[in-house]
Amino acid sequence: MAELIQRFGKAQSFYDGYTRKGIEIETTHYCPGCGHGTIQKLIGEAIDDLGIQDRTIFLSPVGCAVFAYYYYDTGNIQCSHGRAPAVGTGVKRTVKDAVVISYQGDGDLAGIGMTEIIHAANRGEPITVFFINNAIYGMTGGQMAPTTPLGQITQTTPFGRDVARDGRPIGMVELMNALVPPVYIERCSVATSQGIIKTRKAIRKALQAQIDGIGFSFVEILSPCPTNWGMSPVKARSWMEKEMTHHFPLGLVRDTISSSTGKATSIPYPYLDDAQLVELLTGSAAVPLLKDDIPQVTHKVKIAGFGGQGVLSAGELLATCGMTEALHVSWLPSYGPEMRGGSANVSVILSDQEIGSPLVDHPEVLLAFNGPSLDLFEPKMVSGATIVVNSSIIQRQVERTDVNVYYIPATDIAKNEGLLSAANVVMVTAYLLISNALPLETLVRCIPLVLRKKSFLDTNIAIVNKTEAYVKAHPMEKQ
């Protein structure tokens, strides 16, 4: 008797046993007759034959295939629902040699993950996506999926999917084909042996395209879900062949692998050292270093005005000053959808203690840029609070007698320096001077970090100086 040679057997890229339940078991968690097992075997075999086990990073979806990382002895990442193409983008861009396999079901890819798949494909990320379409949400109990064919009965379409009520099924292959970058798009089925052999070839071709660095490849694989379809595994396959392929026509839709020159390589980023990164990200290399001696300060500040007065920027400036003095800070803006003209306020807390909540319901400090802001917050101030009033705009006096008030014509000071929009710098400067919360040098250092327009830097510094002169000439009258 001639010696027998193994011709088909378990792929090397599978673990010997699966530790999902704590002990090594040798069967998958899939239901009897599930298409996932068949497809994952084809992928495992391809990983073996292409010799890419040590380079493969397998992205598991959310859905029945969520446990793929128990099966494949490769790199594995279990992705948030639908986000595998985004994760794959990051992996591929970081580890260029990796073979990234995104394995996703129809709920995952065509439902919640529609954004990620469309944009990954449209960027032409050189990854491979296997889209397992069984026309139903399997893991959650058989609800209608984006790909459920018309007429199909599911838990959420008990009378069959109706076009008027439920819309049409989505053809992902057709959607992919509307995009320019993908180099390989095919729809296969594992309903029949012939279909499995075609699927096997498509999987290899799609992976090879990635190995060769050609571009984005997408293979949709129709797959049976006997459990949720309420059919025997054998009947499920004949139903697929008769019904499902009618809705989702099989075949190669695009193959531009041979004519493609590969994904266009972008100009590589220059190498940046720490100082250059700081310069790039903050706009200034002169970032103040954190100090060891932390000022003993806790101020709950409300800055309010109308949009466009630099209210939020004033808050950011103050918070940044606190941060560079090693204080805990919070910055919580509140504004309407309009960028200009609406009312805006920001709550800033500077504290030498950790901050529990960024809300400031009863401010200790108010920088009131306009009348309505003063009207709104004056009654809410704590007793003994400090209010800085922009007297260029606010005509009335503060009515409360239990607070410290400082009037400063902030808009006029800014306007005199030729920078009307810098009233916020005046207000912050005035606050720091009358409260002694933080040194003025800190403010000067932080201005370039927050107010990024470098052409205005000198003017802003001049405005700080003018404000300082004004405050010296007009000391606050203590209550």
């Binding site: 193994q6 088909f8 378990k10 298409g35 068949t38 396959r237």
Partner: protein, 77 residues
């Protein structure tokens, strides 16, 4: 003769291999494995061509292994 090894306890009794074998070499055993599934049984070794269709259809990674009496490239498929 060609041979299909069935790991009885890895079979879930879905019977897809039985339905796809062109030579009817696989049948349901009528017996239950440790998980309670009626597992398949390889019969008619003389008819088996080691074509691999049972293996490729089977959803379980290791339930079936196909042995042939001569080596041939799997890419012939």
């Amino acid at each position: 003769m060609n041979h299909v090894r069935v790991r009885d306890d890895e079979c879930k009794g879905c019977a897809v291999c039985v339905s796809v074998c062109p030579k009817n070499c696989l049948v349901m055993s009528g017996k239950l494995n440790v998980k309670g599934y009626d597992y398949v049984q390889f019969v008619h070794a003389e008819a088996c061509t080691a074509c691999g269709l049972c293996f490729l259809n089977c959803p379980e990674p290791g339930a079936l292994t196909v042995f042939g009496n001569k080596e041939s490239s799997r890419d012939e498929l």
